[in-house]
């Protein structure tokens, strides 16, 4: 990771009587240019944008294509296909006549990918589920990075007792089993509400998985941030600032924090990918997103009972998760390379 000082390039000298040369590109522009030149990262970004746009258009899809309520059971429903009325859940008529099978992919606007066991449109829920999964992953990432940034900066900069206490707290959090925490909270919150200031969290609230996921991964980010701050503390420019009598908070804000931002930025796509996987796992275990809300994890859970007859219900959200996580990881690698000055040496 970079330990170079990124702020302000040195002022350029203007030759006497000549035209001022084009100013050298700043570190952020250089990073952006390098990222643009990274083809895999650009493809990943494109995939991500497509997924985000598609999910954002979920209400439009529900209104104009599917024309179904994605959150209401439609067990007795039927649709018209090629002029014929077809039940959404089709009863078996052969033999003993046991079981019902949801309608498969129609490749039409309605039930494009078929129905789930509640008779709901899988495509529609996939888009709505994507909104939820992306939202949770994003907010959890913000929570995680903000908390990890603050804890890492304070622990690394203050050192001594503060560092020891914060580091042990991170150890405790790191050792805490996330799924056990989520299960416990989900049971406690079935009929009660957690009030944190103006925020109230109920059992069905999306804030619950956001908070849980955001919190448990704080050590994952805070530790490298702390390490970097410890290293920065011994650099010449920080020592010089101290020698000049600059107040500690100013050193932290003006000299150390800007050098840590690159690390935090690199973590954004990586943490989003990790958070998305965790959200899916929690929802799959019925302790993340709660019905009637959908996320890719809950749709996989719904599809689990149809894996033999309608595997697409589980496979489609699975593919979405794979595509999104893969794209985020590739993009994360690209961002890391772009922000790492040593990478330039390797490239050159």
């Amino acid at each position: 990771m970079s330990d170079a000082v990124l702020p302000a390039a040195a002022p350029s000298a203007v030759p006497a009587g000549g035209v001022a040369p084009r100013p050298a590109a700043g570190p952020w522009q250089t990073a952006a240019r390098k990222l643009r030149q990274d083809r895999p990262a650009m493809v990943a970004l494109l995939v991500l944008v497509l997924i985000v746009v598609a999910c954002a258009l979920a209400p439009a899809y529900a209104r104009y294509a599917s024309r179904e309520d994605p959150f209401a059971s439609n067990v007795d429903g039927s649709i018209t296909l090629d002029g014929q009325s077809v039940p959404v859940l089709q009863a078996e008529t052969a033999g003993l006549g046991l079981g019902l099978t949801p309608i498969g992919p129609t490749w039409h606007g309605q039930y494009f990918l078929g129905a789930d066991s509640q008779g709901r449109d899988v495509m529609e829920r996939l888009l709505y589920g994507g909104r939820t999964s992306l939202l949770i992953a994003t907010v959890a990432t913000v929570i995680c990075l903000v908390l990890a940034g603050v804890v890492g900066l304070v622990a690394g900069f203050a050192g001594g007792v503060v560092d020891a206490v914060l580091s042990r707290l991170l150890d405790v959090l790191w050792a805490f089993p996330i799924y056990l925490l989520a299960i416990s909270l989900s049971i406690v919150l079935i009929n009660t509400t957690i009030q944190i200031g103006p925020i109230s969290i109920t059992s069905g609230s999306l804030a619950l998985p956001m908070l849980i996921i955001g919190l448990v991964y704080v050590p994952y980010v805070a530790r490298p941030v702390r390490g970097q701050v410890l290293a920065l503390n011994r650099t010449d420019f920080v020592l010089a600032a101290r020698a000049l009598g600059v107040p500690p908070w100013r050193i932290l804000v003006r000299d150390i924090f800007p050098n840590v931002t690159t690390t935090l930025i690199v973590f954004v796509p990586l943490m989003m990918a990790l958070n998305m996987l965790t959200e899916s796992a929690l929802s799959f275990l019925s302790i993340g997103v709660q019905p009637p809300n959908a996320s890719w994890g809950t749709i996989i859970e719904d599809g689990q009972s149809l894996i033999y007859t309608r595997p697409l219900v589980a496979i489609a959200p699975g593919l979405c998760i794979v595509a999104t996580v893969l794209a985020l990881n590739v993009l994360g690698d690209g961002v890391r390379d772009a922000l790492d000055p040593r990478a330039k040496l390797r490239v050159s």
Binding site: F71, A72, S73, V75, D76, L89, A91, E92, A94, G95, L96, G97, L98, G99, L100, T101, S117, Q118, S186, I187, I190, N191, S203, G204, S286, Q290, P291, P292, Q304, S305, L306, I307, Y308, T309, R310
Partner: protein
């Protein structure tokens, strides 16, 4: 009995003799032909303790049927007759006197436990005492009528049931004295809770160490993570074909660990002969069509229902409860359960086939026929508005089993449709049943099921809706709705009393109670399920008992 009647009976018996003579060799011939082999059963997990006086799970009750015996038992035959109580370790049905308060059982002689000890009156007395010592789940509700039971319930360790259960070694009898007549006492003794164990059996949970048995099989080993192995009891001699017929397989192995999908595949591949768990929904079509010969579907005396907490808003309002009863599409729920061949809509608290059942359904479109026809959503929405509860938050708690979670989601969806801010919450099936019973958890609505312990209407109505079944703050408050109506409670007690002398009149009284409870809607009856059994290709002589389900000892694999 008049002379004419005696003569008629004699002639009839004489006529039956050739049939009996013919039937006996048939059974012997079948035994000769099919005896041997190992019947292989599979299930996802064990069912906990092997103690027959504690375990309350169908999974092991099916095994106790051919391992343990009580004084009486349910007849081990197919069909309706399987609900009949017959003498088991008792030589004959008991002599009942003192207005139904005294039962005298004469014990069979020569019956031995699998450790070689003979069954005596001492074992019977000790077994009754042990029910209290091991805190049998129903000790306080089923056996509290035995004289001395009140002391045993207070101080189990020193339980003697003095004056309640008395053995007479010389006469080879055991006498049970009750404080009040109990028309269902013999049913209760016919369940595994009435098992007779050796007198020296420890007075605590047996855990994984099985006690000696009296049936044709004994437990050879039990590892809850692996398997339960049952082998022939070397001391067993068939003493009653009705109560405890000899078994065909030499060994019965129950293995644990496979998940339901894998269990189906294993049975279809011939690796196992029977699977315990519910058949996965996505395999039903295939099983019912391609493997119909290996599938058996049976109606059950059971029902799925939605208890509504009458002590919490919004369901402390009768109109709000009625709204749910009107709005529920029972056909949709049956579909979620697997289709119309696996369940039937039910509108009242007594399932079809139970004594006292009379078709009754006020909460349907076009009521009057007694049968549910379709939901009345307009009426439901109107009632919600009238109740003034529209927009209130409601959480429906279901278990996380696939089918139940799915039905829970449907019920929440319905509640949103009729005007509530509802959500479904699925919690682990290991804790859901006790969670919804405890009033501290403030459960407004839930989904659960109830299967008969024995074929009596009280097992549904009195157990689920009696005032004595409501224990605020406890995990064993089976009256989940918390509904206690003194008038209906008195009616139920009257029906219980009537049943001692006049079962038919009692059935009529129970029918009336069923209507009263259905009208008050402490719970919305949803549907009556059927049971799907899947057996291996090589299994012969499949026998289904309403009480025990598949009789494993009567199946052959050779």
């Amino acid at each position: 009995m008049t002379l004419k009647r005696i003569l008629t009976a004699g002639i009839c018996l004489a006529g039956l003799l050739p049939l009996v003579a013919q039937a006996a060799p048939d059974r012997a011939a079948l035994m000769q032909k099919h005896k041997g082999g190992t019947l292989k059963l599979t299930g996802s997990a064990a069912a906990g303790t092997i103690d027959p006086m504690i375990n309350y799970e169908l999974k092991f009750w099916q095994l106790y049927a051919f391992t343990y015996d009580g004084l009486v038992t349910f007849k081990k035959v197919a069909g309706k007759d399987s609900n009949t109580v017959v003498a088991d370790l008792a030589e004959a049905m008991p002599t009942i006197s003192d207005g139904g308060k005294t039962y005298v059982f004469k014990l069979r002689t020569g019956v031995k436990f699998s450790n070689g000890q003979e069954v005596t009156g001492k074992d019977v007395v000790a077994s009754f005492q042990r029910l209290f010592k091991v805190s049998n789940p129903n000790a306080g509700s089923w056996f509290n009528g035995i004289i001395g039971a009140d002391k045993c319930l207070k101080d189990a360790a020193s339980c003697t049931l003095n004056g309640g259960v008395v053995a007479d070694d010389a006469a080879h009898t055991v006498t049970v004295h009750l404080t009040d007549p109990d028309s269902e006492f013999l049913y209760k003794l016919s369940t595994p809770f009435g098992t007779i164990l050796p007198a020296d059996t420890v007075g605590k949970d047996l855990g994984t160490s099985p006690a000696p048995t009296t049936g044709p099989y004994m437990f050879a080993s039990y590892d809850p993570n692996k398997a339960l192995i049952m082998k022939r009891n070397p001391y067993f001699k068939e003493f009653s074909v009705d109560a405890q017929p000899a078994g065909y397989p030499d060994e019965i192995d129950f293995s644990f660990g496979l998940q339901d999908e894998a269990e189906v595949t294993a049975v279809l591949n011939g690796q196992y002969d029977w699977m315990f768990d519910e058949k996965p929904l996505d395999r039903l079509s295939e099983l019912g069509s391609k493997y119909a010969k290996q599938v058996h579907v049976h109606p059950l005396l059971a029902y799925y229902y939605m208890p509504l907490n009458v002590n919490l808003a919004p369901f402390n309002n009768l109109k709000a409860r009625q709204a749910v009863a009107y709005g529920v599409d029972r056909n949709a729920i049956v579909k979620l359960f697997g289709g119309q061949n696996l369940g039937a809509p039910l509108c009242q608290q007594l399932p079809v086939g139970m004594p006292g059942y009379e078709p009754y359904c006020p909460f349907t479109k076009n009521p009057g026929s007694g049968k549910w026809t379709a939901p009345d959503l307009a009426k439901a929405k109107e009632l919600v508005k009238e109740s003034g509860t529209a927009g209130q938050k409601v959480t429906v708690i279901s278990s996380d089993k696939v089918v139940e979670r799915s039905i829970g989601e449907y019920l929440a969806s319905l509640l949103r449709t009729i005007g509530y801010d509802a959500q479904a919450k699925a919690i682990s099936s290991n804790i859901q049943f006790t969670y919804i019973q405890n009033t501290n958890n403030k459960v407004q609505a839930s989904l659960t099921d109830w299967y008969q312990d024995y074929p009596a209407p009280s097992d549904f109505l009195y157990v689920l809706f009696g005032c004595e079944s409501f224990h605020p703050g406890a995990d064993d408050s089976i009256n989940i709705a918390g509904w206690c109506d003194k008038k209906v409670d008195a009616d139920m007690k009257q029906a219980l009393a009537t049943a001692v002398t006049d079962p038919e009149a009692a059935a009529g009284q129970w029918a009336q109670v069923d209507k009263e409870i259905t009208d008050a809607v402490p719970a919305v009856a949803l549907f009556q399920p059927k049971y799907v059994d899947l057996i291996g290709k090589r299994v012969g002589n499949y026998v289904w008992s309403d009480q025990i389900h598949m009789l494993f000892s009567q199946a052959w694999v050779k």
